[in-house]
Symmetry: D2
Subunit: 389 residues, 4 copies
Amino acid sequence: MLSYVTAGESHGPQLTGIVTGVPAGLELDVAELNTALAARQGGYGRGNRQKIEHDQVQIVGGVRHRITLGSPIALVIQNRDHAHWSQIMDPTAEATPQNTLRKVERPRPGHADLVGGMKYRHRDLRNVLERSSARKTAMRVAIGNICKQLLRQLGIDLVGFVTQVGPIGGTAVPTHDVARITTAIQENDLRMVDQTEVGAVHDLIDQTKRAGDTVGGIIRVIAENVPAGLGSYVNWDTKLDAKLAAAVMGVNAMKGVSIGAGFTAAQSFGSQVMDPINWDETNHWSRASDHLGGFEGGMTNGMPIIVNAAMKPIPTLYQPLPTADVNTKEAKKANVERSDTTAIVPASLVIESVVAIELAKVITDTFDGSNLGRLQEQVAVYRQELADY
Amino acid sequence: MLSYVTAGESHGPQLTGIVTGVPAGLELDVAELNTALAARQGGYGRGNRQKIEHDQVQIVGGVRHRITLGSPIALVIQNRDHAHWSQIMDPTAEATPQNTLRKVERPRPGHADLVGGMKYRHRDLRNVLERSSARKTAMRVAIGNICKQLLRQLGIDLVGFVTQVGPIGGTAVPTHDVARITTAIQENDLRMVDQTEVGAVHDLIDQTKRAGDTVGGIIRVIAENVPAGLGSYVNWDTKLDAKLAAAVMGVNAMKGVSIGAGFTAAQSFGSQVMDPINWDETNHWSRASDHLGGFEGGMTNGMPIIVNAAMKPIPTLYQPLPTADVNTKEAKKANVERSDTTAIVPASLVIESVVAIELAKVITDTFDGSNLGRLQEQVAVYRQELADY
Amino acid sequence: MLSYVTAGESHGPQLTGIVTGVPAGLELDVAELNTALAARQGGYGRGNRQKIEHDQVQIVGGVRHRITLGSPIALVIQNRDHAHWSQIMDPTAEATPQNTLRKVERPRPGHADLVGGMKYRHRDLRNVLERSSARKTAMRVAIGNICKQLLRQLGIDLVGFVTQVGPIGGTAVPTHDVARITTAIQENDLRMVDQTEVGAVHDLIDQTKRAGDTVGGIIRVIAENVPAGLGSYVNWDTKLDAKLAAAVMGVNAMKGVSIGAGFTAAQSFGSQVMDPINWDETNHWSRASDHLGGFEGGMTNGMPIIVNAAMKPIPTLYQPLPTADVNTKEAKKANVERSDTTAIVPASLVIESVVAIELAKVITDTFDGSNLGRLQEQVAVYRQELADY
Amino acid sequence: MLSYVTAGESHGPQLTGIVTGVPAGLELDVAELNTALAARQGGYGRGNRQKIEHDQVQIVGGVRHRITLGSPIALVIQNRDHAHWSQIMDPTAEATPQNTLRKVERPRPGHADLVGGMKYRHRDLRNVLERSSARKTAMRVAIGNICKQLLRQLGIDLVGFVTQVGPIGGTAVPTHDVARITTAIQENDLRMVDQTEVGAVHDLIDQTKRAGDTVGGIIRVIAENVPAGLGSYVNWDTKLDAKLAAAVMGVNAMKGVSIGAGFTAAQSFGSQVMDPINWDETNHWSRASDHLGGFEGGMTNGMPIIVNAAMKPIPTLYQPLPTADVNTKEAKKANVERSDTTAIVPASLVIESVVAIELAKVITDTFDGSNLGRLQEQVAVYRQELADY
């Protein structure tokens, strides 16, 4: 079964990831991995840290001569900023007054700081935020890209993009065509399909930044050509939409996740939001619409998968919020760590990545995921069976 | 670790559930279990089936003289309607023309019918819908109620209720007080807090039913007095909000899940939706608001947990949707199975149940869940530690 | 993924089991299930309880007209003896002096009694032994038999038998032919292959019984025609032999497990215990011997799987061992519960069952386990691929 | 929950490990980690590779100023030998005739070579053996040592040692005292307690090496002062002895695992192998013996844990075994890779490590494993409760 785990602090020496269960025989395009990492660092509304890091992934296990071996894949992304933090974040030197500067003792509302300190008994909340930081999503993008490359070999494509920033956007996306969307979002620095909204969003972000504030947004991921029948209705924990929900909500700053029409479906009538079934000689089984976002009974139904994610504004404000010092208990303004006005663009890559990972998981779980060739053969036979049903 | 599994078809002999990991020493109130099951069967907008079933749970393992033993708890709910289906759903008699009547061959858009048939190679889609049916959520309510009784022994209360039906509702709930909400929703047959909306929803449901249509809705669950620090930011799959998202999305008909302000947070500025931190001698650590629904960094932060769920309309329409016969491939109207106009009321119980289950899981995972007394002692020490942080 | 959970106390109303992940489309032979249950109750050396119970399984979910649906299968085995214990083991009546007779307060060394009481804070150790009892293995035999029926549809057969009782036996089994072994062990009431040892074992058991003592033994399971390549060397927790080890050690009273030559291999030279590889036109890849019991690198290698299990003597002695009363702390003789002189025969069925379950798991994990027909097709293609390697 | 995953090929750039769930607040002694790695490389009977590698662990995540943060710990061990293999094992260079020398096409019986090739569709079996190699156990020793340091903070000590090499040894170890054993085994290069056997084992290994052969052995791990009640009898997969069995069998070359008297118990009478229970004012609950190796009902019983492991001889023989070429199918002698005559000494460290890991897992699962201080407090309260039972 495909699974992954990551480690690494935001200013520590490196991010480390291990992915198990990637089929043998997949030729990995490392340049594409690095392009995905670069995309995660871009986007309007980012702060200065992204100018320091230029993430490059190293593959240190599980791949030989570009081809996956079937053994666990180990990935490393160096933190270039670590050079400035090598004493403060030293793993093995003893703590001294000199290397414990930059303590965080005024927890930022909305971040893990305070609760993390309580749970793990930390008094310097840097010990929390170094791991709770979204820095760690860089590794998830690398792993997601491996999965995306795998899915492509099975005919499945997907893309994550931004549909709304703060109050702007939310207009219906007129297509589920991944290639067209991918092209459209490369026209701007917001990964938005509707070019007419870009100017207004730029203005909004600029104003927000000037106000020392931050702003949230909504992300959509669409995956095409996913075969029907992945996941199962038989128990709640075999439903693929449930797994997607966990994967999306597990990304930093996400406060909501929906499939297809989502919360709008809840406000609708059944006659409006179901997707009528059709059969014809050419297309075999198909649907007239995709309100349900590609899911029925927790299973893929062959239509494009549509996942939406609601991202809260980043909690680090340059006009910091009220808090209290964890040691003196005095009322204070929260600490400020270098941060972005909005991270909706990189987050759209991260959400795309976790959807890719879940799809790769369910496919390698359903079929024999030992070797890519065998997997392709089984999926091809299965797709034919679906057509012939 | 607390976990559960269920089995049983909608018209089969019974629903069966096994829950492992409930602490020993919990006195189970079976009457309360049955009250929860009765509540699941109520609510405006239900069809006739609910008049047939009067669910009663039997405990057939794991409990002795009302007290849990620490061993797995086995539960049975008989399907009273099975009397009318005993041949059609016979587990052990061979199939004959007589006992295979009532075949389902015109899959209902929005249900698992078609994809389930493809995945499991069924031609009589009854083999799908008997399990994909929401009938199985009765067992989840029973299990959820056991967890609710457990949580109460730890000082934690929760309630699920309806905030919107179709286009009606959605007004802010003015309180997070579980007791007040519980009282308010018992005043009507919709589990709604705002009594002024009840009449309009009744009318809406009546009209919908006359039109042969169905309607969706939105559910909220609030849990009070949950200690801070459950779940963890250290990896995505240790975040409690991610687990809640999976549990909610895993319930039949759910298309969205959010925490606190959810999708509204995504449209807001950081200064609006964070919850400032306060410390004082009386309350120790507290927050001025609860926009984040009790979660920071995937961990509980001590504020009320707020979970929202978007339920699509039930896909079985008495004015059935276009489909095709799975055998002849001819265009047809979908099969009609006895169904409700809306199941938002019972669903609110189910969502409450899955939230209760996840909270019981994380608490028994975090502390020693072998025995209730020891668990209470550890939680009490931990709560004191949080206060003293 | 195929998994199962069971519930039920030894003298409670019933044993309950739920198996998820059994492929749809398997025709279940219920008579064979009951035959397996009867076999578990037989064997030389059993006590009187087995004359009370005549286990019969009821299928209450997941099966329709004998065919599995793909949904979870629920099984019930009534405890006939419960009639005599209905008050003492009543799940829902309050405890009274009358229904709390037969307390166990003198824990039996070797059983879970004392530690179970400590862990779960029980003072009447009946609350422990009712679940720790091997009675619960009846359900595992039923579930194992379902898996055995599934494996047979994939060309895989297996059998569990007794190779040693106390000091008698341990001679090499001259064959790995499951059919021949199955025939041979039906010739006696000890499930032993070597008929010449049966008389001596009968005498041993008789003497042991007269002495108020008990005796252990060794079990072997052989599985034939398992395709190579199940399990994986890539990480320790993907090794199939490791999973078998857990499954076997998880059976009551087991203190050891080995594969193939096992502990003898540890005392040998490499030139003695490896299995040379051969290739020829007829048999394709084969081995000259099977010292490694069908495993290399934690994967099946296509040779018969050989698993050995060491069963300790049953700890309940009619000449009871020294212990102390958990309430008074006085030195006492241990409680005596009705028990067997040896349970090696039923245990051989249980070990066979857990091996069947693990094999069914790994095969449905590796291939698409949704439907038996599709699974058979994928396994057939894979077997051909192995032959052509 | 504490868990770990590793990656890395034998001649690849590095071994990588990530451990999640180690409590925050543990001061890690890196020197001790490196001492454990050095011990794994020692022992009589090793080949030349060990002279090349001098394993040193780097901590690249989860630790700051020597103290664990509660976040995942990332570890790296460089493969010094990689310098000689940098082209052949290059992860990202395309395959060329020059960098694909040293192909393995004559699979070694007893290794994963042939089956791994079949499963993952490799034709150069180096793609298998690079991961199936026991080289990867170096990382498990590092992780095991972290767990050992954790356990020590909870008063638990353990040691792994050699009880038998080939036919020599197997005499009863006269003590369960971890400190005494640890001292004794440092007197020789075989990690054997009985110094009188050392000479004979040296001779045996020398002869075996001269014969181009290899030899197996038996390992024992003893863990002291483990509190009673870890693990549970309630289901097979909650039994701690079952988990230990999987962990041990999951180590390269292991063919058997037993607890306490193990297979000897199977040949014994109940009166011989149970451990009578005693209670007195001083020691509270204790046992007169430890035949059951510290387990009853799958739970620790407070006595020393005794785990035995049977290691087969290493399958790489300098007098290689018959095999066939995977491409030409011709009968051949198996490939020879640099190897040891016996690896029983390092394996004893690995088995010690996996036992340490399982004990750390169960303790952090049972209690709150977020922070070492809180864990210590909970364990202390629990130990007192056991004494007072």
